[in-house]
Every structure is written in structure tokens, then in C-alpha cells.
Symmetry: D2
Subunit: 325 residues, 4 copies
């Protein structure tokens, strides 16, 4: 099958590679000439601009945009919407806000075009391991592009079968048609929200293990624990076995004190949008929020809230702050 | 090797079965005659009381207690300590509080006995899948019982190797000698604390998915999502892939609305002790705490804190409570 | 001074009454004839519709809208914008979303009109006690209406002076010109967010006091505490002395077990918007979020997140749910 | 009335001063000679050691210990218990753990002595403003010492009466006999837990106000807010009016950016014990916990949990950490 790919960074480039391996034909564009030529050398057809991409594809076309969420994605969508013909499909495989995808779906439908919003999980491992895809859009369009999706996902053998499962066979391959436009990115947003919560659960548990020798404990209760060994053991037979644990054990095996990291942690849109979705749907999400806030705090060099507390303590109790650590 | 097992419930019974399959000799005791005869029929040597168990084992003996934490475990330990000879080993494989294990280790050492505190993860799946063991105690004693542990754990092939890992080969089999007495149960406590956090992360994320059709959202943004399909798709290639996700997908495959559950959730000691350990070591653990509190709230039929809020709202604003749902 | 008031509910009506007492002239409109006639009997000039209100006021007019946030306020603003003349002032004293106030200010400025967004705190007690006002808008307009604001606020003697305070004397009366449009409602939003947090702090603390006789405590540590007496004592000399504590002590004096309340607690826009503002500004706000989530949970009869936890527990451990309380 | 005071620091010294002003007779001891001589000059009878204090008081004696919780208090209690006669009263007015007070009460009763555990709130302001007292112990003993308590508390006029209140008149003066031994310190612990929650609510709200000009907001929505003016205005007529707000407004009036503080915040025992009490009584206390954790995080220079998150992010996504701020 034919697919156009706009944006050949780590994600877009590897998706093209995985499609090429499966025998699909890819037309590839990136502003960066080197990026598109690299993929050309691997079997894709590089093009120099979006009109060239549209010209290189047969109708009904399918073009996958894999760009940073926000202005870059919006601009590419709008430009392509002006170049495509009724019946063509635009795909946003990036981490867009799901409400943008609802809006864009309506905008493109009004022009006779189709839109798919696809949440794509897998990161740097996706090329080898396959991508988990969460797709929003019209049923017929999702089915038309099934060969593309089937080539990208990990496949049935990537996990043992779920006893009692019936129905749509696609989720057992690693992709789900989650609903109309917006549903793909909504599902990906929640996936990432859960990911934040799981990561923070590990981070807190390991932090306590790391401080099990704390001088605040009675002397005969202080423990010096080997985190690389503990996380490795947990990978087999325990309840917390998970891909995140695998990665954690790997990081600790290579750097037992994680000295290579500063502890300042970024956050991306999905973690924030998850909290906002919880608030909008009146669902209590203390874990998902705490996970986000821990990242905010990790970068908070201003410490204004701490200053307010210290000022209050001085006010009522004459308490001085502890010495700077 | 010989092992005595005290307590033949779901965990103790299956540990004996797994040891028998591996060719070990087990002496089995339970207050319940039927329980010990059942294991006798499967190859264990059933005994009618603790003195008989001690008599049936050759020194240096190893007796594994698998009873509810608290009074039952304490009583069995104290009784056996009075019957055993110097050099014998007592094992507590239950979910005891780690500070009890520190204390018990000292108490037994004073009598010339050895003590191992072993956190045992694996639940009802352990018989088939193997148990993850977190062991606290003296190095020589842990090494002496290595054939027992090696028979219980899932084994190396249960997970792919961790790149870069060197050192102690036992964690790659699924068990870790975490440190002196207390370290086994401390590590198990934190394992369960992380488990609580991961479970709650899934619970919150799925709750938002479940409410994605909330009437509080603008009409064109409401989504009806298929949770069995979404969780199944996440099992392959996504960042949240985990054994807990496998179990969640399985539960949803069989009961998509989870109507078989009331939503009142129990909690056990480890979740609570994890929060107390965080407080004692001055480690911030908002996710692990929130996970525990969510369980408290799920059972809170009293709702006194809610009543305080409603009383305050009426006080300053004349606000009435919403109609009872 | 002249002021038009649109919306004569609990808040709007009492604001008019407080202005009339101070000698101001009020033109009063409400869809409900009885409401406007009641105020007419107290000295206001009742009018039957918005054109009549505009006709009854001399330019430059000032009209205060005190309606539910959202559609009602938007509609009144748009209608009045079409009836007013350049230089007139529209005031939104309700609990509007601050971003709406930014937008409305720009929209009205484009028509030559002025806009003030005023957060109004005081509830049912405001008539007697005065209102705390948080005002956003142009400086000259805020100053022009100063006699109105000065009549509404509690006044300097309502609290002892703050040592070291200099500068703008208006905050010492109980009102603040917080900034341009949006700043009034932003400040009120944060006020309410803090209010949620303080309320929940009391709710949790009192909940623990209420459960100090819990059977989970060792028998000799169970305490039966008198909450009306404790909260009353705290009102004098303690660090938690506050108006919310006064109201709490009052509610407990009248209903020591708060049996008149179900524990289902409403939440309004500001608590939600505060969490969203924290997320948008990357500020960690775990207390303000937890306070909001506690209200969500208090009304959550669905308990889907609890069902997920129970399903997982059954999956890995064969655990059954606790009996329904 | 006669009272012995052991420990003449900020709290103990001012309690003696307030008692002297009310005409009581105080025998004063502190290890620091200068401290006891200073109070001698103000009218107390200084003594050089505990036996001298016991000799200087007539039976039945009452001795108030005002020392740091833990070893210092325990040692003074045990020493005095060996010197006193049946019927004498020992008072612990410090911030002891309530379970210690349960235990100490039983220990002293076994010797024929009486014990009162008194939570004392008021800090540096207590001398002028009076102290709020939360008392645990036997009823007859509390009543015997009533003149002492009546002299220490702020008195009825310190707050307006609570409508509908009947019963024990002492709480209206500012003190409560909360129950048997342990009840005083339990009540004080919860008071401080609530205090932590209220402080953190202000800290978070002010932090959002402080970041209302964040570059993460759309340009036309950024606000520069004057925190000294806003907090001053809130002191009159708002729902968040409180003593903590008074102190906050005062700190901001003197140092609008709170530049005199580092933002590293201490925590004392009561905040930690409150969380442990919540866990022990199965009460959900997310706000009180979050307030404690915010203090832990404010001092966390290690950032191990952040390092775990960064290591995981690098593992699955190849994400690099943000540049150090």
C-alpha cells in the first residue's frame, strides 16, 4: 500500500522503516533534506515539498503527519487540506490534544476529506518491537488502511492471549479503533496519564528503598538495599512486573545510584490534559495528578510555596528555616 | 532438601506443591486435618502438631511459616523457637511488618537459631508461574537453602535478560537476598506499595475512559469507549504493558462494565506500612498514599468528612447539598 | 451614586440592599417580577427589562450583572452591550471563568464600553458583614466607581491593621484592584481554591478526631472525643482560628454528629478552574486538587475505579471484596 | 495557685509570665542559670534542680514540663516521678506523641501520681494573646488546676459567641478537657495537622497567583498580581479570613517576594503523626498528607525519585532531561 509521511524524526522515520520492511510504498517528506534522503536510501521516495508528495500519491491518498503537536501539526494539516482531493485521508499520529482532533475532524469532513487521529506508543523501541496504535475516525477509513496498521503493530504473538476474550481481533494485534475523531488521541492521553502514575509509583517506592538507611530510623532498623538486584528480582513472578520495571532495572544495572541524572523531569501535554480531563468529567484522579505535580516540583527552583510556609511559620512560631542543605 | 511448612492455605499449600514437583521433601502441618491430608496425598509428609514436625526433620532443620501476619505468626514462631535446636532455621514467608522481622531475628539469634524473613509475591498464579522471593537474613543461611529458593522462583527464562547486568545471578532467577532480617519484608512492603500505586493509576485512567461520555463535556466531545478493546491493545507495544494490565484486560473481557464488583476495596498491611515508612524516612510518597486513601474512601459509608464540608458550605453560603444520587 | 443591578438573587439582592443603606440609587431588574418588586419596596427603582434599565440610568452608566456564570451572564452582557453608549461600564460580579472575563473585556472595549470583572466573596453574610471585592479592569473606571465599592466592603475596622503595611489603602477596607480584566475573577478563583483546601483540611482533621475510637486502634488507645468542644476551644488562641472554624464550631454546636447532612458535596467552577490554572502555570497544587477530588468522590456512586481495583485483586490474588458495609 | 515549671524556653518562660501576671506563684527551673534568674527577676522563684523544685512546692504539687518531646521530656518525667508524692500532678505541655502520653499516664497512675497531657497552641503570640489548651487526663485533676488554665487562655471575649452553643463553658474561654490521657496531645496533633493543610492551601494558591504571569499562558492571559494587596483585601469579608492569613499578609507587606526565605521548610512530629493516625484509623487524609510531603520535597536535594523518572523516560523514549534551571 502507499503512504505519505510528513516528518521524519525518530518516530516518523522509524514508522516508514517498519512499513518499508513490510513491503509498503512510502513517500517521505521532511524539511530537513538529509532526513528525507536518508530514508530515500532505505527505499522510500523522498519529495521536496507537500505538493510533490500529493502528486506522488495515487488517490485516494493517505498522508500521515508525524510532527510536534500544536502549530507545526496545524500548519501541515491546513496546507495539505488545501492540496488534497475528496476521499483522501489525513492522519495525525502525533501527540495532539484530543479536542483539537475533534475540531480538525469536523473541519476536514467539511471539505470532503477524512481524518484519523492516531495515538502512537512505542518510542525508540517501536521499530523493533512494533507500535501500539489507538485510532479515532470513520470505520470505513480505518478498515481501508488496515494493511498499514497491521504492519506497524507488534502482532498477536507479542503477548499471551487473554482468556475469555472475543470480538474485534485487531486489539489482539496491538491496535484499537477507539471511536470517532478525538477517540484516538483521548485514549493515548489516558495511556500516558497512566504511564505517569506507574512511573511515579516506581519512583516513590524506589525512593523509600533508597532511604531505608535514613538516620531518622532507629539504628537497628536501618537497611542498606541493593536496588539493581531488587528491581531485577521483581521482573519475574511479582505483581509489579512490567515493561517500565524492565527499563528501570536496566537503568539501575548500568548506574546503580542514577548519578547520570539531575532529577529535573520534563512533562509533556498528555499528563496535563489527563488531569484536565479528570476535572472536566468529575473523576477523582489523585494519583495521576500527583504524578504530574511531582514533575512540576522537580523543576521548581523558585520554591515560592515553600517560602510562604516558612514565612507563616516564622510569623506564628518564630521558627527559623532549616539550614540550607 | 527437607522443608517443614506450617500453614497450608492457598500460599503455603502451593509452595509445598511446587517444592514436591522439584523433588524436595516436605513435612506439612496445618490445624485443619483435611488440608494436611490433601498434601499428604500429593507426596508431603503430614504431621499432627509442631513437635511432630520438629521430630520429622533432620537437623539443621528449616521450617517455613506461612500464616496470617500478626498473632498467628508470632505464636507459631515462639512455639517453634522453644522446640528447635541451635543452627535450625525459621522462615516467615508471610506478610509480616518488617519491624517485627527485625525484632524476631534478634530474638531468635539470641537462642542460637536463624531467621529468614521472606516476602513472597505471586498469589494464586505462583504454583504455575513461580514466586518472586525477597529474602532477609544471614548470608550463609540464605545460601544453605538455595535449592529451595531455586525451585520456587520462575527462573531466568521468565523474562528477557537485562542488558548490562552483572553481579549476583540470583535476581535473574527471581529472588534477591535483600539484606539482614527485616530487609525481606521491607522490600516486599515496598513492592506492594508500588503495586497499590500502579493499580490506582490504571483505576483512575480507566475511570476517565469510562466517563468520556460525561454530560459535563460539550456534546460534540463526548466519546463512548470500549475498555476491553483498549486495554487489550495496550498489552502490545505500549509503555503501560504489565502483568496488572494483562489481568485488567482479562477482567474487562469477561465483564466489560465490571458489574460483578461493588467497588468497595480492601487494603492490607503493606500499603499502610509503606506510607508510614515514607513518613519515617521523610520521603514524599503522594501516589502511594493516594492509592491507599482511595481504598479507605471506597469503603467509607460514614462520609463524615463530606458532612463537614456540607455543613461549612451551608454556613457561609447557604448552599444546600446536591440531591442524593 | 447610581447603579443598575441585573439579577436579584441572594447575592444581587443583598448588594442592592447594602448600597441603598449607604444612600446610593439602584435600578433593579430580575426576570422574576416578585424579586424586583420586593427591592422596589425597599427603595430601589424596579424596571421590567434591560432597555428600561438603560433608559433609567444617566450616562456614564454602571450596570452590575449578578447572574449564574455561563450562558445567563453571557446573554445579559451581549444584550446590554447592544444597548449601552460609549463610556458606560458593565460589571460582572458573578463567578465567571477568568478567561471569559479577559475575552469579554476585549469585546466590550472594542465597542467603546468598559468592563469590570469583580469576584465577590461574602455569601449570605455579606449584607451584614460586607463583601470582599477582587476587581479587574481599567484603573480610571475602578476609581470612578469607588463610592460603590467603599459602601459594599466591610471597612477598615473589620480587622486589626497589618504591621508594616503601606501603599494602596483600599485593600485595608476589603477590596483590591487586582489588575486588568480577568484579574478580578482570577483572584476570586484562587480565593475559592484556597477555601476548598482549608475546608478539606478541617474535614480530614475532624474525620480523624471522629474516628479516634476506631476498633483498628489498640484498645487502650481509643479515644471518644467531643468535636463541638474541641472546635470551640480552637477558636481562641490557636493557629487554626478562622472564619471557617467559627462556622464549623457553630454547625457542630447545633448538630454534633452532623446527622443533617448526607456527605455528598457539590463543587462549583472555581475549584475546578484552580486546578486547571495550576496545570497551565506548572504549579504543584496537590492540596487544592485533593480538595476537589474529595468532592468528586463524595458523589461517586458509580465507584468504577474501585471496581477496577477489586477486579485486579481478584485477578492476581483471588481476593474477594469485603462484605458490603 | 502554685505551679512548678520545668523548661523556661520561649513557651515555658512565657507561660510563667502569664501566670505571674494573673497572681499565681511559680517555681521555675531550667538547666540554663540565666533563664531561671531572668524569670526570678520577674517574680518567679528560681530553683537549681528538680529536688529543689519539689521541696519548694506544697502538696498536692503541680509541675508543668515544657521541654522538647522525646528524650528530654521522658527523662524529666521519670526523674520527677521518683521525687513526687501520691496525689501530685505532672503536666506535659510539650508536643509529645499522644501514644507516649497514654503510656506515661498509665505509668504515673501506677505510682499514685496524676498526669495531664496538654497541647498548647499559641506560639510566640501566646503571652499577649493567650494560649489555646487541649487537655487530657482525669476530670478531678483538670478541675483542680482550673485557675491555672483560666489564666492562660485568651478568654471568652477573644471571639464572638457561637450561636446555639450550650454545655461546658470552658471551650468558650479557649480550653477543652478532651478526654483521658492521650486525648490532649491527640487533639493538638490533629490541630497541627489541620494547620499544615491550611498553610499549604495558602501556599499553593499564592504560588499560582505568583505565576499568573507564566509564559506558559497565552500572552493576553498573563497577569501580574500584587500579593500583598490581595492577601490584605481577603482579611475582610472573605471566606478565607483567618489568623494564618493575617500572618501571611503581614509577611508579604514586609517582603512582597518573600526573598528572605529559601523555601526549605521544616516539619515537626505532629504533621507526621497525623498521617500515621489517619492510616491507623483508615481515614482518607490526602490534604494533610500532601501538606507534609510538600515539606519533605522542599528539602529534598537528593531528588532520587526524579532521577528514577528521568531514567525511565530515557529508557522508553530516548528523552533527555531538561537543561538544569
Amino acid at each position: 500500500m502507499q503512504l505519505g509521511m510528513v516528518g521524519l524524526g525518530r518516530m516518523g522515520g522509524n514508522i516508514v522503516r517498519r512499513l518499508l520492511k513490510a513491503g509498503h510504498h512510502c513517500v517521505a517528506f521532511d524539511r530537513d533534506t538529509a532526513a528525507r534522503e536518508a530514508l530515500g536510501a532505505e527505499g522510500a521516495l523522498p519529495v521536496a515539498d507537500l505538493p510533490a508528495m500529493v502528486a506522488a500519491l495515487e488517490a485516494p491518498r493517505a498522508i500521515w503527519i508525524m510532527l510536534p503537536a500544536g502549530a507545526a501539526t496545524e500548519e501541515a494539516l491546513v496546507t495539505l487540506a488545501g492540496l488534497l482531493s475528496p476521499g483522501d485521508v489525513l492522519i495525525d499520529g502525533g501527540n495532539s490534544m484530543w479536542k483539537d482532533s475533534v475540531r480538525r475532524g469536523a473541519m476536514l469532513r467539511a471539505k470532503g476529506l477524512h481524518f484519523l487521529d492516531i495515538g502512537t506508543s512505542g518510542g525508540v523501541w517501536g521499530l523493533a518491537r512494533g507500535y501500539c496504535l489507538m485510532i479515532g475516525g470513520e470505520d470505513a477509513v480505518v478498515r481501508r488502511l488496515d494493511p498499514i496498521f497491521a504492519a506497524l503493530v507488534p502482532g498477536k504473538e507479542a503477548a499471551p492471549p487473554t482468556p475469555g476474550r472475543t470480538g474485534d481481533p485487531r486489539p489482539e494485534q496491538g491496535y484499537v479503533h477507539a471511536g470517532p475523531n478525538g477517540a484516538g488521541h483521548f485514549t493515548k492521553m489516558i495511556h500516558n496519564g497512566i504511564e505517569y502514575g506507574m512511573m511515579q509509583a516506581f519512583a516513590e517506592g524506589l525512593d523509600i528503598l533508597h532511604h531505608a538507611d535514613s538516620p531518622t530510623l532507629p539504628e537497628d532498623q536501618r537497611l542498606t538495599l541493593n536496588l539493581p538486584d531488587i528491581t531485577e528480582a521483581w521482573r519475574r513472578g511479582s505483581v509489579v512486573a512490567s515493561w517500565l520495571l524492565d527499563l528501570t532495572a536496566q537503568a539501575l544495572a548500568q548506574d546503580p545510584q542514577l548519578e547520570g541524572f539531575s532529577g529535573h523531569v520534563s512533562d509533556s501535554g498528555e499528563g496535563r490534559w489527563t488531569v484536565q480531563a479528570a476535572v472536566e468529567t468529575a473523576v477523582s484522579a489523585p494519583v495521576l495528578s500527583a504524578a504530574l505535580y511531582a514533575r512540576f516540583t522537580s523543576r521548581d527552583e523558585d520554591r515560592f510555596s515553600g517560602k510562604v510556609l516558612s514565612a507563616q511559620r516564622k510569623g506564628f512560631g518564630g521558627h527559623l528555616e532549616p539550614p540550607k542543605p
